[in-house]
Subunit: 190 residues, 2 copies
């Protein structure tokens, strides 16, 4: 359906969630991930952080041809005026889930489309409202799932998302890691 | 995590979507579907329709013991003061998608928990806002997906949901067919 005018798509993400979401747009793509330093300037806030990182990931592709679009992206959790990254260990994951419990937080996903001569960066925000989680619920999730590779220590498409989320304002897929409707629109006009 | 006090759970639904969602709550269950007449009184509106049908589905289980909870449910789409069921054919599916295009509609899912001596029915509403779909997008979806087994002729977890939905107010899982957070809470106190 999406007319890419013969262009090849490369998704530069190791995330199986992002790979599955992009498949849902019914486009052909390959996957190629290049190591990227994920530090960012401390003064950056909110969507400026994932936009910076998505561009950093794109900057690793210095050998592009005119016929290829690289898709890079990054997702952060923003809560209490701070960014919440992936946890270093289970103790930090537990702290993060205790912070998220009973509060609203924002999830920003930035996407960067890059060809040899052109770049477009955009980002989408979703507000996620968690119920107050019982300590037993947090401990159960930490013991049975894999929080360490996830910003904010949770996966919305896992048990804790099913039982814990009161509501979401905005895109569910954006919280999973790719704002599909916006990506489809941006690819249509890129 | 969910303490069912030794009770067995039977999910009375043939929908693979509902079966997968219930698995997400990390509870053991079996599946048993009994044929049910899905007609309902014409005067019923909104959540009264799926609540009636969820109870009808439960009423087929006349041989319950004290130790078993039957979960039945039903989902409808409500738009322009009318219910939108599953389409009879592709022409009707196209009409439904043209109606949904560019509008908000409501999705009601009712769930009925039944034991030998007790019954609890509840329902959850989600508001779904579709962008204006191009005819080519509708035709592409009809040609490549299976709209005929879905209320309102679309699956939110399919291409048309990815590219077409502006936003959802309420639960994404409710639109898929089971309001998981509410079901978890109701099972906790049933």
């Amino acid at each position: 359906m999406l007319d890419l005018k013969g262009k090849k798509i490369i998704l530069a993400s190791a995330s199986p969630r992002r790979q599955n979401l992009l498949k849902g747009l019914d486009i052909d793509f390959t996957i190629e991930v290049r190591p990227t330093d994920e530090h960012f300037p401390e003064k950056l806030q909110r969507e400026a952080i994932p936009e910076f990182l998505a561009k950093q990931k794109a900057a690793q592709f210095t050998d592009l041809d005119d016929n290829t679009i690289i898709i890079t992206s990054d997702t952060i959790v923003w809560i209490n005026d701070h960014v919440m990254n992936k946890p270093e260990n289970f103790a930090e994951a537990k702290q993060m889930l205790q912070t998220i419990s009973g509060q609203m937080h924002e999830v920003f996903t930035a996407v960067c489309l890059t060809t040899k001569g052109k770049q477009r960066v955009f980002s989408v925000v979703s507000k996620v409202y968690f119920k107050t989680l019982e300590e037993g619920e947090i401990d159960y999730y930490l013991a049975n799932y894999k929080p360490l590779d996830k910003a904010g220590s949770y996966g919305i498409q896992e048990w804790i998302g099913y039982i814990g989320i009161e509501k979401i304002d905005g895109s569910y897929f954006n919280v999973m890691g790719l704002p599909l409707k916006e990506l489809y629109e941006e690819l249509s006009v890129f």
